[in-house]
């Protein structure tokens, strides 16, 4: 099983990059999609047992380079600093805790998008929006649905329609 997990809060500007990426992938990829707030127990529950888990999250860096995407693996993700939003445990804690209790995906990829604005409100800043667009195009090409003969009554090359209601579903898995 492959899962793409968007972490963040769409009401805190660039912190919504992860959820925005998952929204853009909906209906275009043949993998499980989920959005969550980054709370470690929920994250661990989503990725435990997956063959591949791709986590898309916003980060703050110093010096900043908004829109830059950092690709982290199991070892480097554990070093991630606390999250930009208000709660005190973050992705680094989730990776360390998941590893300590043996509940990690076989492969973890973290795509960390550098943001610049994390205040109240909706909408990504232009460079972050462009980074999300570019990142989702790459993921779409990589995770495109398999041909109909393998995954159901769809024409080859046509995206598998989303089965969810289209709303974000923090903490819940939706098959795209």
């Amino acid at each position: 099983m492959t899962i793409v997990i968007g972490v963040g809060n769409e009401f805190r500007r660039d912190d919504g990059a992860g959820p925005a990426a998952v929204e853009a992938l909906r209906g275009r990829v043949g993998v499980t999609l989920a959005v969550t707030d980054g709370e470690p127990a929920r994250l661990i529950e989503l990725w435990a047992g997956a063959d591949l888990a791709i986590v898309v999250d916003a980060v703050r860096c110093d010096p900043p380079s908004p829109g830059r995407v950092h690709e982290l693996g199991l070892d480097t993700a554990a070093l991630a600093a606390p999250p930009v939003t208000g709660h005190s445990l973050g992705l680094g804690d989730a990776v360390a805790l998941g590893a300590a209790v043996g509940r990690m995906p076989r492969v973890l990829e973290v795509l960390a998008i550098e943001g610049s604005e994390f205040g109240f409100g909706r909408g990504l800043t232009p460079r972050v929006a462009a980074a999300v667009d570019s990142l989702t195009r790459r993921l779409t090409a990589r995770l495109a649905p398999r041909p109909a003969s393998l995954c159901g009554p769809h024409e080859p090359g046509r995206p598998v329609p989303a089965t969810s209601d289209g709303t974000d579903a923090p903490g819940r898995k939706d098959d795209a």
Binding site: A41, E45, G86, H87, L89, V101
Partner: protein
């Protein structure tokens, strides 16, 4: 001038609490001169931007105040709006609300007990370090939290900021099949919850008691979803009289308002208060677990609040199973709530304590005024008072040890800073 006996303890960002805050303690000689719980998370203005919204919107808007206790906000807001409109929901819907609320208690308490509070008692800097030595224990905590999560997903539509709650009830009631599957998830969780009480009962608790007046809802059942406000000093008043009895005031060091009784009395709300005022309403299984863990008629040591939370998790699972076992799909998922001009009040028991909402509506159902009083802001004065009394006999400790103990004392209250802002770092100033 700095004297040898003058100290400042300053934690500029408290760890293992929900949200952003700090602690400052100034000691002169043997006197604890000042204790401040600084809540610097920015104010959030929910009360202001509820004005002008429709009477149907508060459950969805106020759920966004907190990712840990959104159901509390949904329930208090629904009760307040329905009160304003003169509507009472069907008994079956009240039971479903109670079931959803059990999910939030299980999830929130399991998170606090295992990932935030237990490391203090077992001598670890955090849950990750604790998990390396106590893997099976942390796995049990994660299973419990997942059980609460699943309950929230089935009844609330999703685990964070549930989407199935509406004024008047729900958008959709679960099927018998969904409830049966839920029961199968919860039954093993009951064993995990009982094991949690036995485990927490073995912690070493600092010798400390407080005398705060306890405030909690009281009803014919252990309080979650409504009732009369009562205190350990004998006060009793309905939700509608909340603002006659409790005042909030601004303090310079915090973006959260501080609450007191109008006569100046400091009070405490939350698990310790609920337990003291409602112990006899616990289910037989939860009561038995409490007794076996050494909890008496009341608990006045805030460090032992971890035990009370563990007992409340047993109760919440037991109560959820009772509701599921008796479940018949309701004839309608919601009752109509036509708007009318008026004022409504709602109080429920969030995991951290009493949560009050009040809405003023015009004839079209538009909100003209809103008031939200979350538990952590009510508890700030009591937390600061605890800290002052806790620090004084421990001044022989070095700054690092004393700071650590103070942080633990704050975590006793599971403060949800995000909720309370209108709300930790520790500074101990020994000058």
């Amino acid at each position: 001038m700095t004297h040898r006996n003058d100290r400042t303890l300053n934690v500029s960002a408290l760890a293992r609490v929900e949200g952003e805050g700090a602690m400052y303690v100034r000691v002169r000689g043997t006197d604890v001169e000042e204790v401040r719980l600084n809540i610097y998370e920015p104010p959030r203005f929910f009360e202001a931007f509820l004005r002008g919204r429709a009477h149907t919107e508060p459950p969805d808007i106020t759920a966004r105040i907190c990712g840990i206790c959104p159901v509390a906000y949904q329930m208090s807001s629904c009760l307040a709006i329905e009160d304003a409109c003169g509507v009472a929901v069907d008994a079956a819907l009240t039971e479903l609300r109670r079931l959803l609320y059990c999910g939030e208690w299980i999830e929130s308490h399991a998170l606090h007990i295992y990932l935030l509070h237990a490391p203090d008692f077992l001598g670890y800097p955090g849950a990750v370090e604790m998990a390396r030595d106590h893997r099976a224990v942390v796995e049990r905590g994660l299973r419990l939290k997942k059980a609460g999560n699943t309950l929230m997903e089935v009844i609330g539509g999703r685990a964070i900021h549930p989407v199935n709650v509406r004024v008047g009830g729900f958008y959709r009631a679960p099927s018998r099949g969904e409830m049966a599957a839920l029961a199968e998830t919860l039954r093993p969780a009951l064993d995990d919850a009982l094991a949690t009480v036995r485990w927490a009962a073995m912690f070493e608790f600092p010798d400390f008691v407080h005398e705060h007046e306890y405030l909690a809802l009281s009803a014919d059942r252990y309080p979650l979803d409504g009732g009369t406000l009562r205190t350990s000093a004998g006060r009793a008043f309905p939700a509608a009289a909340f603002e006659e009895h409790i005042v909030e005031e601004q303090v310079p060091h915090s973006t959260a308002l501080h609450a007191r009784f109008t006569d100046g009395g400091v009070y405490l709300t939350g698990p310790l208060a609920r337990y003291a005022l409602n112990r006899d309403k616990l289910s037989p299984l939860a009561l038995e677990a409490a007794a076996a863990a050494g909890l008496g008629a009341e608990c006045r040591n805030p460090f032992r609040s971890v035990l009370v939370r563990a007992v409340e998790v047993v109760y919440a699972i037991d109560e959820a199973l009772r509701i599921i076992d008796a479940y018949e799909p309701p004839p309608r998922p919601a009752v109509p709530v036509p708007p009318r001009a008026g004022t409504g009040h709602g109080v429920t028991e969030a995991p951290r304590g009493v949560l009050y909402h009040r809405y003023d509506l015009d004839a079209d159902g538009l909100i003209t005024a809103a008031r939200i009083v979350p538990p952590t802001s009510q508890n700030q004065t009591a937390i600061e008072d605890d800290l002052r009394r806790f620090v004084a006999p421990r001044l022989h400790l070095d700054d690092a040890s004393l700071t650590g103990r103070c942080e633990q004392a704050i975590r006793n209250y599971d403060p949800c800073i995000s909720c309370s802002t209108h709300f930790l770092d520790l500074t101990v100033d020994r000058t």
